[in-house]
Point group: C2
Chain length 342, copies 2
């Protein structure tokens, strides 16, 4: 039923290995036989069986993607489709397929990764999120299996290839943007401290304050589970302070959307009363009311480069680990405005 390499070989009057070489476009095959073989392939509607190929060649031509727990709200973040788009674009260029592993909890995800690696389902892995004390990173690292992380790994930072933004600088610039607008009471609403990204951004924020000689206030800092409640708890608490902030630095556009909502409910106007700025610059940053000033972290590029880097280290086993920093850019929109004294 299935047409195999032998059928093609027979029809073309050559040996199976020759057909195999034609598939691989081996230069040592004469053009005339190539043509002959290709005709036979077309005629028979031949398609290589990938499993057989993988088995024999010990390579799958597939990359594994590890997403955060699907129980996690983060899963719904438009960040993911966009990184995947980047990864997919690069993978496609090199003829690689994507294999996606998910799971309801940390453990399931971990098992999925082990299965991918040991089961030889993929040639390399991209971690789309990582946190402190990540068992997957540990496992992959000691296994010497090719992998790249999107974001900054907590451990082995310079032993693991990763592609990240300069979150420290980005947060600094974003905070400075507010300071330049005259704001001094600037709150920070972050995600889980468990994420390295959060820490980096918090440090950048602190640095910007220090540079401007604005005292750091512990009560202006909030860490909320990403997206849960959309940061409304933080906003409530912050606005109830004796000296409420006049500007908010928010970790993520989706969260900022929630912040915008809560503020509006409380009758606080953005940007007239307070400014709100955030990170990621996903599509909704543009669509929200008011449109959000947001740091474009170039998500597509994050994914594209991660795939690129991974593919390199699959090709060349001894490629040293690499840190790739994707440039960011503050996109100025309506949600931030000069501080107005009341």
């Amino acid at each position: 039923m299935t047409v195999t390499i032998r059928d093609v070989a027979k029809l073309a009057g050559v040996a199976p290995s020759t057909v195999s070489r034609v598939i691989a476009n081996n230069p040592r095959i004469s053009d005339s036989t190539k043509k002959k073989v290709r005709q036979a392939m077309d005629y028979l509607g031949y398609h290589p069986n990938i499993n057989a190929r993988s088995l024999a060649a010990r390579s799958t031509q597939a990359l594994g993607l590890v997403m955060p727990s699907s129980a996690n709200k983060a899963f719904q973040n438009p960040f993911f489709p966009e990184v995947i788009r980047g990864i997919s674009t690069k993978a496609h260029e090199k003829g690689f397929a994507l294999y996606i592993s998910t799971g309801m909890n940390e453990e399931e995800i971990f098992d999925g990764v082990v299965e991918m690696v040991q089961g030889r389902r993929v040639d390399g892995i991209i971690l789309l999120s990582t946190s402190m004390d990540d068992k997957i990173v540990e496992y992959l690292y000691v296994s010497h299996f090719p992998f790249t992380v999107v974001g900054k790994p907590y451990k082995y930072e310079d032993k693991i290839s990763h592609v990240d933004n300069d979150n420290y600088r980005a947060a600094g610039e974003l905070t400075k943007h507010l300071i330049d607008l005259g704001h001094e009471r600037i709150a920070f609403i972050g995600g889980s401290l468990n994420l390295v990204m959060t820490t980096d951004r918090l440090l950048g924020y602190e640095k910007a304050l220090r540079n401007a000689e604005i005292p750091f206030r512990e009560d202006y800092i909030f860490h909320e589970e990403f997206l849960k409640e959309g940061g409304s708890g933080a906003v409530e608490a912050l606005m109830a302070l004796e000296e409420p902030p006049t500007a908010f630095v928010v970790m993520d556009d989706l969260m900022a959307l929630g912040v915008l909502g809560t503020l509006s409910e409380k009758g606080v106007s953005v940007p007239d009363d307070v400014s709100v700025v955030s990170f990621n610059n996903v599509m909704l940053a543009e669509l929200s009311t008011p449109p959000l000033t947001s740091v474009d972290i170039n998500i597509f590029q994050l994914g594209y480069k991660a795939a690129d880097c991974l593919l390199d280290s699959i090709e060349n086993e001894n490629k040293p680990p690499e840190r790739i920093i994707i440039p960011h850019k503050i996109i100025n929109r309506m949600s931030s405005a000069p501080y107005k004294k009341k």
Copy 2:
């Protein structure tokens, strides 16, 4: 280097075939040897090579997902992570993995599907979007390859398993919701007419108007490329009419977010001046300002059932095609309110 079934067999003092049977948990193997073999597996850290298994058993334990063109803005819609979460949950239950095929354009995507099918990379395919005159549907259908579509196929509607909402009814109810609030000038902002979903919803909208004896107005109907501009063009045009609508039925939450933005720019207040309702009820419907009245189409379930149905037809080749309708529910939020005469 790699530990194979033979290593396990040797250590356990049995034949390779026995080990294979233990993996498959064949009931004809005595408990004592099972135990013995499993110990050996653990001891050696054995993991079956999936490619070898797939090759021999002619089954990959993987499902293929086909997304819309990644050049397409639709790709960024939070709809996708959520369907995938549903699919992944079911797939996981049955020990299936997910392959994702993407591509920059229709053609690349089509080729990817062919490769998945002919290359035996997957046992079945789920189409996450389909349009009229879909070549992929055609191909899969004539190949007799197991597949399911999320949404309604344009052709072969009752010969292809698919899971969908009752978009006709949902749109009807949503429109009626507005009519019940006293609205009569109700606009419809849809996506590409190329999507079957759009047509279904438009028909439902028309039906609701008819039932209420409200005349259908051509100039209240707009079809915009999903998300492009976020429907702002439509809003501009509609509000410039002599008799502008007092309510908007929008195809999608993201688009509705854009509509909200454009209205706010024009100084039109929601829901005081006009009401806006939409579909999908993704997270941002709740986070937007004002929170959106939206039809919860149960995206997770859409994916979960699609996987379920596909897995069934993989197991049982003769399973007749099935249409599965996922229930919807209007979630009432702040963006819709009674019509106020001016």
